[in-house]
């Protein structure tokens, strides 16, 4: 229990230090508001349009892929923890290793599929994607 109290204390400190620094800075720094300063900096150009630009769809793809794989690592970790001690306690390699090989195998099939289908391909040929949409609309 105490270790989590300590970690909580670290959390408190980790919040407190920036706050203290901010407070110190607030006392030190001047404030000279001016319109030119508060403009958004876009390499010196006058900002145009909204900043909430529509970004590349691939970000979503990657994010989805991550969600899947990251959670799988959650399931892999318990296995790695017990792997060696289970072996030492006499579990056969087949019972302890095969399920994880199957699990990873399934993951790999998924990954390769995503790979081949361009989920991790940053730039798609615009020509190809145009052809697809046209066929769909026809």
């Amino acid at each position: 229990m105490s270790e989590w109290i300590a970690i909580g204390a670290m959390g408190v400190v980790a919040v407190g230090l920036p706050l203290v620094m901010m407070a110190m800075s607030a006392m030190l720094r001047p404030s000279v508001p001016e319109q030119g300063k508060s403009a958004t900096y876009e390499s010196g150009e006058v900002p145009t349009g909204t900043a909430r630009v529509q970004f590349n769809i691939q970000y979503y793809m990657v994010a989805l892929l991550f969600v899947v794989f990251d959670i799988e690592t959650v399931l892999i970790f318990p296995w790695t923890v017990i792997y060696r001690s289970a072996l030492e306690q006499g579990a056969s390699l087949a019972t302890i290793l095969t399920p994880m090989l199957v699990f990873i195998g399934v993951l790999v099939v998924g990954l390769v599929w995503a790979w081949r289908n361009g989920a991790v391909k940053w730039v798609k040929s615009p020509q190809a994607s145009r052809r697809k949409t046209e066929r769909k609309d026809a």
Partner: protein, 100 residues
């Protein structure tokens, strides 16, 4: 036994917050978050009572729940994305081509 009931109250509160969010929001993404909250309420119970009962069943199942919640989000985001494209927004009440 008393701590157990505290956990139940906590999880029930989280669950109810989720339900509340789900009922009052029209944004599909917020809907999704509310559902996650509800799933986490379940996780609270599972982990707390795993400790109480002294078996790891609950914790293990908690892991599964998390994994499934993630998978659900993955699918959900995909659907919300096509929703956005087809209906120009993520407002769930907008999509009414069919009679409700």
């Amino acid at each position: 036994m008393v701590p157990g009931q505290y956990y139940l109250v906590l999880s029930a509160a989280v669950f109810c917050i989720g339900i509340f969010g789900l009922l009052t929001r029209k944004n599909a993404l917020l809907f999704l978050m509310s559902v996650e909250l509800m799933l986490n309420a379940a996780n609270i119970n599972l982990v707390a009572f795993s400790y109480y009962w002294g078996n790891v069943t609950g914790q293990t199942f908690g892991l599964f729940t998390m994994a499934l919640a993630a998978a659900e989000v993955a699918v959900g985001i995909g659907i919300i994305l096509v929703l956005y494209r087809n209906f120009d927004g993520v407002d769930v009440t907008k999509a009414t081509t069919m009679r409700w």
